[in-house]
């Protein structure tokens, strides 16, 4: 299927030595199947991390206030080998974040979308192979931000995966990295969605009318519409919360807010605004 236009699309047979061929085929890939697999395998790694965090949550629920065997003393030296309430809050926040933004979304849209859409509608590849590559590589800054966040004050975001202010605004610096990571995930998804929409609308094989499309493709089509039009709202909201934290704006902070003996640097905002903006995308998404 792909041979005819392999040269035009910039994949398939490449010139140069083995290493550069390997890099451009499997690392900076523009082929939809390779990108699908890249999404799949990086998500599987995060699936493992998210699963480990869930084990921590389950351990605390099953045996509350008990020393964790083997790794407890090394991980929680301050609290005598036990999971502290702070750590528990971080555990379920990061478990949910990773599972939703690093596993479910990239697997469903990134992996299956990329792999299956061209195959199921009879297209040669996605409409924009380089945008496709970018959408995958924009996940990596997000991965980096989340990994770094585990080593920043707060040791990981701990305001729940919904990151409701004012709690999230008062949290440790890890929360800022969390917000930045979510911005990158959002940009990645938006680039992907443009690609899916264009491919599905423009590149169907002759005879594949919209109403003959498989249900799977319809599902991805609707998801892509949502990501293209509702996700920018969430991304803007994430940047607004980041600016509340870093630049001390007051989008989501009410007047005269005080917590932990500290007074907010700004006010006059609306706490509920975040929830409206957040759920504008997240409710249809979940």
């Amino acid at each position: 299927m792909a041979q005819a236009t392999a040269e035009n699309l910039g994949h398939g047979k490449r010139k140069g030595n083995v290493i550069s061929r390997f890099i451009f085929t499997y690392v900076f890939a523009t082929d939809h199947k390779i990108i699908g697999l890249q999404f799949l395998f990086s998500s599987l790694i995060w699936f493992f991390v998210g699963g480990l965090l869930a084990l921590g949550v389950r351990w605390q629920l099953a045996w509350p206030w008990t020393d964790m065997p083997i790794v407890g003393q090394a991980l929680f030296a301050d609290s005598g080998g036990q999971i502290s309430p702070e750590f528990y809050t971080m555990l379920f926040t990061m478990h949910a974040t990773i599972m939703i933004f690093f596993v479910i979304i990239p697997v469903l849209a990134g992996a299956f979308g990329n792999y299956l859409i061209p195959l199921m509608i009879g297209a040669e590849d996605m409409a924009f192979p380089r945008l496709n590559m970018l959408s995958y590589w924009f996940m990596w800054p997000a991965f980096a931000c989340i990994i770094i966040s585990f080593f920043m004050p707060g040791y990981g975001a701990a305001a729940g995966w919904t990151s409701y202010p004012p709690l999230s605004v008062f949290n440790g610096d890890a929360q800022s990295m969390w917000l930045l990571a979510m911005v990158f995930v959002g940009i990645s998804s938006m680039m992907g969605s443009i690609n899916y929409l264009t491919t599905i609308i423009q590149m169907r094989a002759p005879g594949m009318t919209m109403f003959r499309m498989p249900m799977t493709i319809w599902g991805m089509f609707i998801t892509a519409i949502m990501q293209a039009f509702a996700l920018p709202v969430l991304t803007a909201a994430l940047l607004m919360q980041l600016s509340d934290r870093v630049l001390h704006t007051g989008f989501f902070l009410p007047e005269n807010l005080a917590m932990d003996n500290a007074v907010a640097a700004s006010g006059g905002g609306q706490v509920l605004l975040w929830q409206h903006l957040f759920w504008f995308y997240s409710h249809p998404a979940v």
Binding site: P64, W65, D78, S79, G80, Q82, S84, P85, E86, Y88, T89, A158, A159, G160, Y164, P166, L167, F170, P254, E255, L257, A258, M259, D260, N261, V263, Q270, V271, L272
Partner: protein, 307 residues
């Protein structure tokens, strides 16, 4: 064994509905398995909604589950009659039916729940004073804070947020059989006021004032209690943000409140404008000390919130 799947598909809806009916009628061992005993008029109406919606769902679950089971049984290719299943991929009538029925059910539910919602969330109870109808004034101002509950009872003047307020932490005693209105505010982050027995849940958003009301038709007495829980993640101590609620008759309530007045009033007057933060910081400090101490976790478990 070759009928395994059809039998499984028969069993699932039947077991599901039997479990639900047992929970609904409180048959052992599923007594109060879903919701605790209702303590309020609103709770009774919400329970009726809850059970009604589940009854509807049971009918659908039984219908679809048994239909699938029957189809699997009938068209099992290892069966005696070896009938072949018919394949067809378009049936407009069927599609219209299974779109319309759920749509009708949803519209019905929208109207069915309206009265309960209006009573519990929109129409604050009114009271007749000197021939004039006014909203019931809040009896207690609830201030949620990390990680506890402040209750400011309206003092002799019957108005909250005045100098004669009576301030109590983590214990809310109220008279049963009356329309009670609470004024809910937060000192810091978002909290949520939840009393399962009253079927009452209200988010408390900083910067906003909410009113919640209920009319309890059961008493706990002073020796027993129900719990007020926080149901919005508010930080590391969210899990221990619990207060006791006691519902008593009017004379007991008044006697109790009078006692509080003499015991607590001078000490716990509503602080001046600048003080709340300091008071809060103290509890914060105390809390974090407990958390950081050597046997921190154990102490946290036993101490809970200091009264």
């Amino acid at each position: 064994m070759n009928r395994f799947w059809s039998i499984l598909f028969f069993c699932v809806p039947i077991l599901g509905v039997v479990t639900f009916l047992m929970a609904m009628f409180g048959i052992w061992p599923l007594t109060h398995a879903w919701l605790p005993q209702s303590f309020s008029v609103a709770g009774d109406s919400i329970d009726r909604l809850f059970n009604g919606i589940h009854l509807l769902s049971s009918v659908i679950l039984l219908g679809t589950g048994l239909a699938i089971g029957w189809a699997i049984w009938k068209f099992d290719h290892r069966g005696d009659d070896r009938k072949k299943a018919a394949y067809f991929h378009h049936n407009t009538l069927l599609e219209v039916i299974w779109t319309l029925i759920p749509a009708i059910i949803l519209v019905f539910l929208a109207f069915f729940q309206m009265k309960s919602w209006t009573e519990n969330k929109m129409e604050r109870p009114v009271v007749e004073v000197n021939g004039e109808t006014t909203l019931v004034p809040p009896m207690v101002m609830v201030k949620a804070k990390r990680f506890g509950w402040e209750f400011h009872y309206a003092g002799a003047d019957g108005v909250v947020e005045t100098q004669d307020d009576i301030y109590i932490e983590n214990l809310l005693v109220l008279p049963a059989g009356e329309d009670i209105v609470l004024q809910l505010e937060s000192r810091d982050v978002i909290h949520s006021f939840f009393v399962p027995e009253l079927r009452l849940k209200q988010d408390i958003v900083p910067g906003m004032t909410q009113f919640s009301w209920f009319n309890s038709n059961q008493e706990t007495g002073l020796d027993d209690k129900i719990e007020i829980l926080c149901t919005e993640l508010c930080g590391w101590g969210h899990y221990k943000m619990v207060a006791d609620m006691k519902l008593v008759d009017r004379p007991t309530f008044e006697a109790w409140l009078a006692e509080q007045q003499s015991a607590y009033s001078p000490k716990f007057k509503e602080p001046e404008e600048s003080e709340p933060d300091v008071a809060m910081a103290k509890t914060e400090e105390a809390n974090s000390k407990v958390a950081m101490s050597e046997a921190g976790a154990l102490e946290l478990q036993t101490n809970q919130i200091e009264k």
